[in-house]
């Protein structure tokens, strides 16, 4: 566990709501890394621009982040290593230098412990209960020798006491336990996806390492014994999706994960699953493109690609979670949908959702049922795998079932699966497979509209922008602005009627997307004929800050009421 996550967990343990956001370059060591934690006594869903307390382990930090430092920001830094006077933060007043190296040396620990000392210092100056932090240190070094834990606790105590003594009076922030607060998890979208998959009965996961999707692989690999999951790192994403198709054909719940470049390699496999009617789930955690692009940064520029990848025409369901709770829930749903509709389901996420931690109470799973659709463990007489049916979905057996033999065939095929290119048969099979779209649309859940039913402005967005939008709406509501937000989670097949209805009622609209061209805006125009003229778009690799959404809405609606 890194120091930033320890701080997030420390805040959550005492009952605060937490959101954190991590920036790091595509390097193994070094470069400029930041870990921003936002903690409040009300729910937080995004990072904000201005920082209350800044720990600067290196001098350049104070220059790079000068615009995020307020007059009353507490600057915590190593007294020997960092001199604020030499930086763009020179005029900032509240300085909390700490002898990090010396404090570590007093305990005889390695230099890396300076991070822990600085963090403990912040906790000290905010009156955080030290014994809770001790527990976190114990948890984070679980499995390591007792000596390591003892050293870390000792060194933390040094930093804690030093800062409490010297800077307690500087800090107007108090990190004290909130009585009666529920216990909350601190987890990323990727971890929530892994957790949802496990709960929904995932038994096979394959992946090729690719930032920012790899933590799904790591999380599930760590659980393979506890939850009885086969986790396979394959040679490439082509193999990944083909293995997943094999595992699903054999009767498991199977999923794979990647980012945009790996998804490109999976395209032919998606198409294969389309014609063999194999239910698989693919998670695409987007990063900045094109090409290798911005490997460790965020973007929502793969929307059209995710929707349309795969040659030929077939039903591909696309779901877009907006926070950790939805990542959990939609992953569970995706595994049901894949098996019920016997077709690929793609969960589109991004680095911002996938790697940012948010606090959340343990997810409610009541009402969720594993639904494997038309799965047969015994074959009826004269069984035919691809028999026509009113809803387009044919009962399926799995290998090992007596008299249930089928051929899953990437060539067009007859009811048994044997190759067949005749016109009548082809038309019937196309109609059968495409009919699944109508079956799915009939049960499509209502897309959420957050905020008041009547609003002066309707924001339209999808995916990870949900956090900054909702946080901005909270500020706007306090100032009397009537703003609501249509969040599209079920992207394909597109909920045309639902979206058209909301938009036709909207007085004004604002499209918010983390990409250059406003891809969802294009999808909406194609589906409804409605053009969303006001747009807030960015493609610099950074997520939206709620301030940006707030400013844009203020610019449209004016001075308020």
């Amino acid at each position: 566990m890194n120091t930033g996550l320890m701080f997030s967990k420390a805040c959550a343990r005492i009952g605060l709501h937490v959101f954190d956001y991590i920036e790091y370059p595509s390097l193994v060591r070094g470069g400029h890394n930041t870990y921003q934690v936002r903690a409040e006594d009300e729910e937080v869903r995004s990072q904000i621009r201005m920082v209350d307390i800044l720990i600067a382990l290196e001098e350049p930090t104070l220059t790079i982040h000068a615009n995020e430092i307020k007059d009353d920001t507490l600057l915590v830094y190593d007294v020997k290593n960092v001199d604020p006077g030499k930086t763009r933060a020179a005029n900032k007043r509240i300085r909390c230098p700490m002898p990090l190296k010396e404090l570590v040396a007093e305990v005889g620990g390695p230099e890396i412990m300076q991070n822990t000392v600085a963090l403990a210092g912040v906790l000290g100056m905010c009156d955080y209960p030290f014994e809770v932090f001790e527990d976190i240190i114990r948890d984070s070094f679980e499995g390591k020798q007792g000596k390591v834990v003892k050293e870390n606790i000792a060194v933390a105590k040094k930093g804690y006491d030093y800062a409490k003594e010297h800077y307690s009076h500087h800090s107007h922030y108090r990190l004290t336990p909130i009585k009666g607060a529920p216990q909350r998890m601190v987890l990323t979208g990727n971890e929530a996806t892994a957790l949802g998959a496990v709960k929904a009965g995932l038994k096979f996961y394959a992946a090729y390492p690719m930032t920012p999707s790899s933590t799904i692989l790591h999380t599930l690999a760590g659980w393979q014994e506890r939850h009885g999951i086969v986790v396979k790192q394959a040679e490439d994403e082509i193999s990944v999706i083909n293995m997943t198709i094999g595992a699903a054909t054999a009767g498991t719940r199977a999923m794979c994960g990647t980012s945009g470049g790996g998804y490109a390699l999976m395209s032919e496999g998606l198409s294969l699953a389309g014609i063999t009617e194999t239910g698989i789930v693919v998670v695409e955690v987007q990063r900045g493109g094109p090409g290798t692009g911005l490997p460790t940064w965020t973007e929502q520029a793969d929307l059209r690609f995710v929707m349309h990848a795969g040659h030929g025409e077939f039903l591909k369901i696309v779901l877009a979670p907006g926070d950790v709770g939805e990542a959990f829930r939609l992953t569970m749903d995706a595994l049901n949908l894949a098996e019920r509709f016997q077709t690929p389901v793609v969960i589109i996420s991004d680095k911002y959702l996938g790697e940012s931690h948010k606090s959340a109470e343990p997810f409610d799973t009541t009402g969720y049922k594993v639904d494997r659709g038309k799965l047969l463990r015994q074959a009826p007489p004269n069984y035919l795998r691809y028999a026509d049916s009113p809803d387009g979905i044919s009962p399926r057996t799995i290998p090992g079932v007596k008299d249930g033999i089928f051929l899953a065939n990437s060539d067009e095929h007859d009811d048994m699966g044997f190759s067949n290119e005749e016109i009548v048969l082809r038309n019937r099979m196309m109609a059968k497979r495409m009919r699944k779209t109508q079956t799915y649309l009939a049960e499509l859940p209502q897309q959420q509209v957050h905020g008041p039913e009547e609003a002066d402005l309707t924001i339209i967005s999808w995916g990870s922008t949900k956090g900054p939008i909702l946080d901005a709406m909270k500020w706007l509501a306090k100032e009397g602005f009537q703003v609501n937000f249509l969040q599209i989670t079920h992207i394909q097949p597109f909920p045309v009627e639902q979206v058209a209805e909301v938009l036709s009622k909207a007085k004004q609209t604002l499209l918010v997307e983390n990409n250059y061209t406003g891809q969802m805006g294009g999808v909406i125009r194609e589906a409804t004929g409605i053009e969303l003229k006001e747009r807030l778009l960015k493609s610099d690799g950074r997520p939206f800050y709620p301030e940006e959404v707030y400013d844009k809405v203020r610019a449209i609606l004016g001075g308020g009421q």
């Binding site: 086969v230 082509i238 595992a247 054999a250 009767g251 063999t276 799995i398 290998p399």
Partner: protein, 284 residues
């Protein structure tokens, strides 16, 4: 034992008269019928090429996938259900061209599947282009002045990469081929059976007569298949295409070392009421 007629689909093959695919098809069915396995426990994946049409002519659970990809599909099937006997029917383009990476990685992992490669040194279904096993200088539609690359040596590659069962057969020697397929399926691990075959329409050089002149059966030579260096010499022999089991050793199959595979096959796990509370705790 599976009655031979149970493996018939009633569909008539569409291969050209004289095609080597017939011999391999008959050998596959014979071998399956002679093995002590349940019909429903066979799973066959097929690549794309003339060979792939065999999917319509063997009645067994199967998946005809995409060109080059029958190996990873088979690995996924086997990992999901260890009880199945998984066989890959592929071509030389599939295995040594489009899917060479999967070939080497399948060998590395020693997944317990049997790979039967139709190796006719030409792309037949796409009407006659050079294949990865075409001899240097092969004149074809795509190489009218002769191919420039040297051929892939699948036997040497498989041995070098740690193959645990490496064999070569010949489509016109069904008796030997049946034995190789049976031995390959019985072998626990990744069994490579490269099957030399003629293409009656597009390869006028590597004909049945040519193969008869250039192949030698290992059964007539005292060969210890556990001797890796000798096996490699046979694989690299410029004068003979040796047929038979060239190399074999025993090592753990992939699924034997997978933590989740220690109990019953994962397809039999109960998916209802999965308890995630321990995993939730680690986020607290």
């Amino acid at each position: 034992m599976i009655p031979k007629e149970a493996l018939e689909t009633g569909l008539k093959p569409t291969w050209c008269p004289g095609c080597g695919d017939y011999g391999i098809w008959l050998a596959v069915k014979q071998a399956l019928a002679q093995l002590d396995i349940k019909h429903e426990d066979i799973f066959i994946t097929y690549g794309i090429g003339c060979h792939g049409h065999m999917c319509n002519h063997v009645k067994a659970y199967g998946l005809e996938g995409l060109h080059g990809r029958p190996i990873p599909v088979a690995e996924g099937v086997k990992l999901a259900n260890r009880k199945l006997k998984v066989i890959v029917i592929a071509g030389d383009g599939d295995t040594y061209g489009e899917g060479l990476n999967h070939f080497l990685m399948g060998i590395r992992g020693n997944h317990d599947i049997t790979l039967i490669v139709h190796d006719n040194q030409i792309y037949g279904l796409t009407t006659g282009q050079a294949s990865p096993t075409s001899a240097k200088g092969t004149k074809s539609k795509s190489t009218p002045t002769g191919s420039i690359e040297v051929p892939v040596n699948p036997i040497a590659l498989a041995i070098a990469q740690g193959g645990s069962f490496v064999a070569r057969g010949f489509s016109a020697d069904p008796q030997q081929l049946i034995g190789l397929i049976k031995a390959g399926v019985a072998h626990k691990g990744f069994s490579v059976i490269d099957v030399l075959q003629n293409c009656a329409t597009f390869n006028k050089v590597n004909t049945v007569t040519w193969y008869k002149e250039h192949t030698s059966r290992l059964e007539e030579k005292k060969h210890d298949p556990h001797d890796k260096i000798k096996a490699m010499r046979l694989a690299l022999d410029p004068n003979h295409l040796w047929t038979g089991i060239i190399y074999q050793d025993a090592r753990e199959a992939y699924d034997e070392d997978v933590p989740a595979e220690r109990g019953e096959p994962i397809i039999d796990h109960d998916l209802k009421n999965i308890d995630i509370s321990e995993s939730v705790k680690q986020f607290m």
